[in-house]
Point group: C2
Chain length 112, copies 2
DNA sequence: CTCCTATATCGATGACTGTCGATATAAGGG
DNA sequence: CCCTTATATCGACAGTCATCGATATAGGAG
């Protein structure tokens, strides 16, 4: 198991497609770990709901109801995971949803 | 956030289908938390790979390489989550995959 | 250069979890 | 009854994480 800040989503063997070995299970579990926090899910969906699926950090802090350092921490995790792209424009930083990045996870949950 | 032993998967609003509120995000995050452990994913896939998608606990301990109490703990979590059904037969306990239980999670990851 | 705003990093803290060994419970055999 | 086997529960421990306040960094405005 990687630490949460070091996970890059890159998978995956399907859960119901035959016995998984420990390594594949660990890779997939890491991916789910990124999604297993409400703040991160809310951030993903908030960014995705903006026009162009991108959003300035300054517009995310207040809707989340968490401190700015905490939001910054979660955005970093989502960026490292490959779910959000980071772009700096002047003083502001914009995060953008990377399209199709959840598809591999979705297919790992496919019925046998 | 529920504690891991109290989670029952029951969801879900799609992540990319508009801004989620805190409550929906928490429910979905809880569901992913159940899947964010390699031992649990391996258990799920091992049971699913058996004929009839069911399996005796005694046949799970050794392939997992974890102690019997630890395996028992994870099985309880999966059962409480609604992913595995528990049935006692004499001295043995069999766990069986509940069909279709991952579908709701899969659809929560659908592209917008 | 100085101030202000936006974002990231740091350090600390409280909570939760995965793991184990020891033990309890339950069921069957002699 | 006692013994053995299968499973669950208990208590403890080590590690990780979400969160915060304080602070650093960076960029623009005046």
């Amino acid at each position: 198991m990687k630490k949460i800040a070091e996970i890059t989503i890159d998978c995956c063997a399907p859960v119901l497609g035959g016995a998984m070995n420990r390594e594949d299970a660990t890779t997939l579990a890491d991916a789910f770990k990124v999604l297993s926090d409400p703040a991160r899910l809310q951030l993903l969906s908030l960014v995705a709901a903006q026009p162009g699926a991108e959003c300035c950090v300054c517009d995310l802090v207040s809707p989340l109801g968490l401190s700015q350092p905490t939001v910054s921490h979660h955005l970093k995790v989502l960026n490292q995971a490959g779910l959000l792209e980071r772009e700096k424009r002047g003083t502001w930083v914009f995060y953008k949803v990377v399209p199709g990045r959840l598809d591999a996870l979705r297919s790992a949950l496919q019925p046998a």
